[in-house]
């Protein structure tokens, strides 16, 4: 040291509190979920956008495009609303991806990785917060649909089951979003995913019956996981569904459980593996 500098007083830092690994994993998950929810409070505009967009679509479909739709049961609102709920769950995918990608690019993920905290807590924190947000968005959208005349007639338990299936779909797409956010190299990938969300929703039974599509597209649309969830939600909400369709359409509720389970089974391990391999 060429210049003599006064030695400042030593720093007295606190020591970590005791606790079992499991307890800390839960506490870390809560801390990280709390961080994301605090973001929402700090940026109400973004939340309004995320919740407002599906509502805008709802209003557009009901009041502007409804007239040209040939709806089962004559009232397009009844068949449309469960489809919109499903599509809102799909939009959560890019929301998750944005969050994961931003943290990775800002170096936050690296800082988390340098802390004595389990990888599971980082992913679980994200999962909890995103699910809370999606549940709130869905609640608001359900309310808006009721206001414009959507009427579930299946009874409270069926309606709860429908909401459960919608959130199950969201939960499975969450893992796709985390995985995509971790493998993406830049914002370009995000734009690509956002661009494909819409066509992906339209290539399904969310808004129209797959049987009305050209043969190949119709088959693809029928097997689209969104179709199963939308059909199951219509069935459970007691709304009229599309006529016809093959085996998948006949077993909508079973498929609306099976698809998400398969998606989680594939993408959750991929996401965890990708997170663990960030050090390569």
């Amino acid at each position: 040291m060429s210049t003599a500098a006064p030695i400042p007083a030593p720093d007295v830092a606190p020591v970590p509190a005791p606790g079992s690994p499991l307890r800390w994993a839960l506490a870390d998950t809560a801390t990280l979920a709390g961080r994301q929810l605090a973001h929402l409070r700090a940026r109400p505009g973004e939340v309004a956008g995320a919740v407002g967009f599906p509502i805008l679509l709802l209003l557009m479909f009901v009041y502007l495009l409804g007239g040209m739709m040939d709806a089962p049961g004559g009232d397009y609102r009844q068949a449309l609303s469960p489809g919109l709920f499903t599509m809102t769950m799909l939009f959560g995918l890019s929301a998750t991806m944005i969050g994961v990608l931003t943290d990775a690019q800002r170096g936050i993920t690296d800082r988390f990785r340098s802390l004595p905290m389990s990888a599971g807590a980082v992913l679980a924190g994200r999962a909890v917060a995103d699910m809370v947000v999606s549940a709130l968005a869905l609640a608001v959208l359900l309310g808006a649909a009721l206001l414009v005349g959507w009427r579930p007639t299946g009874g409270p338990w069926s309606a709860a089951a429908a909401v459960g299936l919608l959130l199950l779909l969201r939960f499975s797409l969450l893992w796709v979003g985390i995985w995509l956010g971790l493998v993406a190299r830049g914002p370009g990938a995000l734009t690509a995913v956002q661009t494909f969300e819409f066509p992906f929703a339209f290539l399904s039974g969310v808004f129209v019956a797959p049987v009305t599509m050209p043969a190949v597209l119709g088959a693809v649309a029928e097997w689209n996981p969104l179709s199963s969830t939308a059909a199951a939600a219509r069935e459970l909400f007691g709304n009229p569904g599309w006529e016809g369709g093959g085996w998948v359409a006949q077993h909508a509720i079973a498929m609306a459980v099976l698809w998400p389970v398969v998606i989680v089974g594939v993408f959750a391990p991929l996401a965890v593996r990708r997170y663990r391999r960030m050090s390569r």
Binding site: A9, R106, I108, R111
Partner: protein, 323 residues
């Protein structure tokens, strides 16, 4: 004997898809309780080395230990002992300064009360009290940097990595960071600091490793020692003569070369002749006498120690030409 705070042996890293390796065998030895400077030009591999030591990146070959613990074999144990301030501030932009400190305190497993108390202490220490309730997105670069360092100091880690901690700070901000680093070292933390500012390494570091990546062949340590040893390594003191008349340059160069026992460097624009000399006082007398004898009109004559910047440029240049 306590284990070394940082010990790296033959670290190699080649990023997939990159044309050349980033590290081509880096060794580092840092005893506990000291500050070690890792000095190198852009692309020398400083960040890569730090990321390997901080368990964020796996080396292709070689081994590294923190406090005697292998970073590849027991990353979780290493993470309990380190703090990391990356080259780019890694704090939450949306939250305010205080919430950032409390959040990271909780993630470091402090009790809620301790996390809050520590946050106040660090806000105070880093002159962030007034900004504590504002979102970080509205902070200046220097404030961000200070908050980033404060976060890394929450637990007083055994080993703290600072990757260019004062890049972009004004002199006051740098002084604050330096004093915080000294306080940590006084309480027993070992610091590994990368920097491009030589005065920073000179101010803080007991020893310096100079990292260079000659012709893209991958970073390696081209020199290691105390700041004084590095100065001595490139020839110690230099004598410099500025002549009044350009015509006298040749005569002055002859005198200085004879005294120094080596060819003097001549800078015609500055009318300056310079050469490294082993014994400053003897060289001064002999040069004065020689110049007077040759009838050279002298404007300025000085013997001075090379600055660390000169040392740095020499060492890395030498590596670039492959010497």
């Amino acid at each position: 004997m306590p284990p070394l705070a940082v010990h790296a042996d033959g670290l190699r890293k080649h990023y997939p898809g990159s044309p050349a390796p980033a590290l081509a065998g880096v060794d580092l030895t840092v005893p506990p309780g000291t500050v070690h400077g890792l000095l190198g030009p852009n692309g020398a591999g400083k960040t890569t080395a730090v990321r390997i030591l901080a368990t964020l990146l796996r080396a292709d070959a070689g081994r590294a230990e923190i406090d005697g613990i292998d970073v590849a074999a027991r990353p979780a144990d290493v993470r309990r002992r380190i703090g990391l301030v990356g080259q780019y501030a890694a704090i939450d932009e949306v939250l305010d300064g205080r919430r950032n400190l409390v959040m990271f305190g909780r993630l470091l497993h402090l009790s809620p009360a301790d996390a809050r108390r520590r946050a106040e202490q660090l806000l105070e220490r880093f002159a962030l009290v007034e900004a504590a309730d504002r979102p970080v997105s509205g902070y200046s670069g220097g404030m961000r940097r200070r908050l980033d360092i404060a976060v890394a100091m929450i637990l007083a880690p055994a080993v703290l990595f600072l990757d260019e901690p004062t890049t972009g700070l004004d002199p006051r901000g740098r002084a604050e960071v330096w004093s915080a680093v000294r306080a940590l070292v006084a309480s027993g933390t070992t610091v590994l600091l990368t920097t491009q500012y030589l005065d920073e390494a000179d101010q803080l570091a007991a020893r310096i490793s100079v990292l260079a990546a000659p012709r893209g062949a991958g970073g390696r340590v081209v020199a290691e020692g105390t700041p004084d040893e590095l100065r001595a390594r490139i020839g110690g003191d230099r004598i410099e003569v500025v002549v009044r008349r350009p015509d006298d340059l040749a005569a002055a160069a002859a005198v200085v070369s004879r005294v120094a026992g080596t060819d003097a460097d001549v800078d015609a624009d500055l009318r300056r002749v310079a050469a490294p000399v082993p014994d400053r006082m003897a060289a001064l007398g002999a040069t004065l006498a020689g110049l007077a004898g040759a009838g050279v009109a002298v404007e300025d004559l000085a013997v001075r120690r090379p600055t660390l910047d000169e040392v740095f440029l020499r060492l890395t240049d030498r590596a670039e030409v492959g010497a």
